[in-house]
Amino acid sequence: MQKKKSFYWLAAMLLIMSLFMAACSNGEDEAGAAEDDKKETEGNEGGEKAAQEGGTIVYALDAAPEGLFHWNWYGIQTDAEVLGLFDDNLITFDEELKPQPNIASWETEDNKVFTFKFQEGVKWHNGDELTVHDWVFSLETLAHPDYEGPRYTNVQTVEGAEAFRNGEADSISGLEVINDYEIKITFDKARVNNLLNLWTYPMNRKAFEGIEVADMEGSDPVRRTPIGTGPFKVNKVVSGESVELVANEDYWQGKPKLDKIIIKVVDSTAVTGALQNGDIDVVSVHPTIGKDVEAMENVDLVTAPGLSYYYVGFKLGKFDNEKKEVVEQKEKYADKKLRQAMMHSINREEWIEAFFGGYGDVVNRPVPTAHWIAADNDDLNTYPYDPEKAKEILDEAGYVDTNDDGFREDPNGDEFVVNFSHYATGNPTFESRAKALTQYWEEVGLKSTLEMIEVNQYYDMVEKDNENMEAFFGGWGYGADPDPSGLWKSDQLWNYPRWVNEESDQLLEDALDVEIVGTDEAKRKELYVKWQQIVNEELPMLFITELQEIYGMNKRVGGLTLDVSGFNSAHEWFVTE
């Protein structure tokens, strides 16, 4: 009896072991085969890449998507990256971020009434034809009182949206369907950015049939079986780790060259290894590892101007969120000369090279260079690195060392310390890059301290004007809409420096005023350039760098281009094998 039991035990063990063995050997074959595939492509250097029929690429993400695969509900960039491959926007953006027709083209005379015309024959992945009714359905969903996402603001300006949301109307009166391919949209008033503000993603009516608006967010068409009009269809979603996309043969811009795109989540520690091995083909690369990726023989590094910028902000006042105004001025950094001197003392080129591998550019304004409203550097102070000049300015402004401790005192003769704060996330480069900034300031005689604060707490302190927040590091992203009011007007919560400047407020208002700018882009740009000159002169924040978007791309991938608005349509991508 005893013997028998131990025999069973042994047999069970053996069985389990053999299962593992089987798994291993099976995997070896797979991996081996995959490697062979990749090796063939390595020889394919120089000359035009020959497109191969079909093929699969692996597109890696360095963070897990939330799995909200519909434009109306997505929340994070990662989900948007996936969405971009299988669902098309009705309009698109060019290299200067000006809107261009895509599926829909539009006409307007007064910036109040727009007529949109859809391409005929655009098919959803389920075979339905895309019509303007799908768009109306989408806009009414956003305006529905049960809709919980952040996009109501993108319909709010349509005439009658307010009434619809309050339940006073059954439909949005500003949406007037002319026929299946034409729609007239009337806004509540003429604005220069009506088109940019409008939500231009339709929703398939059949897929969401019978689903209440309140339940849509968690429903299958959003999470598990999303559909769109894009070059690829979602075939399968494995929550938190991968998505399988297959070619959409009926894509309106032409049949995709690839058969499949596998989207895979890869931990950031594994990105370089996986790229090197050819396990992944396309991945967004963090600037700090950009140089390693560039050195790889089988990988190309593609870059495009980015839309975000990093800055060092100063708290110039205290904001009252109830009254929506800056209620108290802070004196410490009130002197413009001090801020300018601090700007001159930073060697931004060196800093970008050291902490972002050089994949960034010095920026002198809160608008990314690629944007059509960006002011030319010739019209701005460029604040070159010049510690001598910084010292001169500080001397002039009265910041001199009066007690011979090697550091400057403020004009009243009191100790002056730059208390600089930076957020901490566990990324080890953050502390050193912040420290580097304080060292630049110490070099011109400004005593500086650094505090690293946990990121959630950090932004809470920044938003609430915590007393300990004086000079702070931050970053902002820019969209296609040129209007920066939300981050810069004095009555805005997210105007973190609490900078109040009447002329700036006025310019930002004028640039949105149809009476003043009409449809004249040049006139509008002129106002924005003027505004940028003021910000550049006043420096409520020191603009440090605009980062580039960089992607690592296996050399076997072709037809893929990147510009400021993102990738080209994925139906043009191919592999050479």
């Binding site: 063990m13 991996a31 939330e66 603001t153 991968s242 520690t269 996986a274 946990e454 809470d460």
Partner: protein, 321 residues
């Protein structure tokens, strides 16, 4: 025994209630909330964020928030994840199979390694092989799992190409097919090795010490005197006695099985409970975070109880009543 079990279960209730208060207040005292942090100004605006805070009840007084949470919790409504926008129960249910699979695999690996090494080391103590096993064990104990994970990926995935470095399954395979399950095993093996090998040390040393101790006992001497073969003495008489204390480890293993391996899962992008827990903390996803913490606490209590009950079963000298 039944009475004892019931008493223990009843005793858990006040304990869990206290834990819930601690969990809740610790969660709320973390700086920031799910809607703050790094904001994308193109995708949201202050009014919307304020609305969401109001909707989530974050502006209510603390005791109101606690009352609402605990009463929902007792009724089995764990709330909705603020990040994934889906019910917490569903989210955990989605991740649980992965974590259980990883946990069980790593436990099996741990047992196999521990039995083989422990028995050998116990039988031949103070030899070179024993010292080697001890050395390896203590090294395993000393190396943090995130280092081991990264190195394992580097060698076994990138250099040798034996194992995949991320995910839980190859997405191109048909769900439920034989290849699908093989692929799952293949994916789980490397993280399970990292997890299991590092956990082996305590089991091995425990078994080894117990075998050495038992081998000096009277009944072993008697068996030897009667001429019982050495193999039989070790594999039958001693082992059976030495396994008993190990069984009680099982209670604690339940917790490890479910709670997953936070760091290992993150490094291997293995979507399980551990990764979910880490994400929920980073994103201040209160409902997920608090539900998971409560679940872990319950499992610790439960595991302790199982361990105590097992003591009573395997060793009749210990009376649990």
């Amino acid at each position: 025994m039944l009475k004892y079990t019931l008493r223990r279960i009843l005793g858990m209730i006040p304990m869990l209630l206290l834990i819930s208060i601690v969990v809740f207040s610790l969660a709320l005292s973390m700086p920031g909330d799910p809607f703050g942090g790094e904001i994308d100004p193109n995708n949201t605006d202050p009014q919307y964020i304020e609305e969401m805070r109001e909707k989530a009840g974050l502006n209510d007084p603390v005791h109101v928030q606690y009352g609402r949470w605990i009463s929902n919790f007792m009724q089995g409504d764990f709330g909705e994840s603020t990040r994934y926008k889906m019910p917490v129960a569903e989210l955990i249910g989605e991740r649980m199979p992965n974590t259980l699979f990883l946990g069980i695999t790593s436990l099996v690996i741990t047992y196999i390694l521990a039995f083989v090494m422990g028995m050998y080391a116990g039988r031949k103590p103070y030899t070179t092989a024993d010292n080697l096993i001890g050395g390896v064990n203590y090294l395993g104990l000393a190396v943090p799992s995130y280092i081991a994970g990264v190195f394992a990926i580097y060698f076994f995935s990138f250099k040798l190409g034996w194992f995949p470095f991320s995910g839980s399954v190859d997405i191109t395979l048909q769900n439920g097919s034989f290849e699908y399950y093989l692929s799952r095993l293949h994916h789980v093996f490397l993280p399970a090795i990292v997890l299991g090998a590092l956990g082996t040390a305590s089991y091995t040393q425990f078994l080894r010490n117990d075998i050495i101790e038992s081998s000096r006992k009277d009944y072993v001497r008697t068996a030897r005197a009667k001429g019982t073969p050495e193999t039989k003495i070790y594999n039958k008489h001693i082992l059976r006695n030495s396994i008993i204390p190990l069984i009680t480890f099982l209670g604690f293993d339940i917790v490890t099985l479910i709670s997953g391996a936070i760091i290992t899962e993150a490094i291997f992008t293995y979507p399980g409970i551990g990764q979910l827990f880490l994400d929920s903390i980073n994103n201040r996803d209160y409902p997920v975070m608090m539900t998971l913490t409560m679940m872990f606490s319950f499992l610790v209590l439960f595991g302790n109880m199982i361990a105590d009950l097992l003591y009573g079963i395997v060793d009749p000298r210990i009376r649990v009543d």
